[in-house]
Symmetry: C2
Subunit: 150 residues, 2 copies
């Protein structure tokens, strides 16, 4: 009983510090969230990159784990590009909101590429992974070129 009370109090304390709405409490939270999602995605994508480039030995299991995470993370950042985030300082270019449909298409290309990378990773074949990795990296670069300030 005492434990139950403690748990409820702990939950209340924790949650009061978190986004309480379906999405984000304020635009800054959305920007922080999308940047965090990109950071986690990039870290795991980079680990596959290191194998693809021969910088670390190929480890089929690690490639699979990282590719699964890349696919999961690839779905997340976009919720953080709401119209109310345009005025928050970041590397995001105004073109994102000027041509939102084109930006969304760009994101969908990443999603498709990340899904293909995850499938490729399951093959356990480094050449297959290499090709899917390159195609995924190309979608990152295309979007960065158009929509991220240097």
């Amino acid at each position: 009983m005492k434990n139950a009370v403690r748990i409820v109090v702990a939950a209340a304390v924790i949650v009061s510090a978190l986004p309480a709405m379906a999405q984000f409490q304020k635009p800054e939270d959305a920007v922080k969230y999308r940047q965090a999602s990109f950071t986690v995605m990039a870290a795991h994508f980079g680990r596959i990159g290191a194998m693809v480039q021969g910088k670390v030995p190929f480890d089929a299991k690690a490639a699979q784990d990282n590719a699964a995470l890349v696919e999961t993370m690839s779905k997340l950042p976009w919720a953080g590009f709401g119209a109310d985030t345009e005025s928050v300082a970041s590397k995001a270019k105004p073109e994102i909101w000027k041509e939102k449909a084109k930006f969304d298409q760009s994101n969908e290309k990443l999603l498709a590429a990340a899904t293909a990378l995850n499938t490729a990773a399951k093959s356990g074949n480094l050449d297959t992974i290499k090709k899917a990795f390159g195609e995924t990296a190309a979608t990152c670069k295309a979007c960065h070129d158009d929509y991220r300030a240097k």
Copy 2:
């Protein structure tokens, strides 16, 4: 063919900006990664919290999606607490590295709670989710109390 060349060049450009080692190129990258993982985890945990607290209507599918992400994210930050990150400025207390085994146990409690929360979310029962949410929040709070500076 031209496309293939473009893809390889794009891959090289992208990857050069990413962690190339199995883990992290420098301690600061590890700290950024662990903080980003916590940010993403907290955002999705908070969305379940909003439902549990009645701030937003209960949506069983959204609860499931968010709980699956919380479980996935709960596994990630710990790789970013390597011994070489102790000297990087952050809210992480030195106790983390002084009593690493106890800290690891603390993390395992979160992992178990997040797995239970994911299972609870699949039940579609708000009371079941509420209980699992509270228990997960308690593991967050316990670890923050011990290992995170105010």
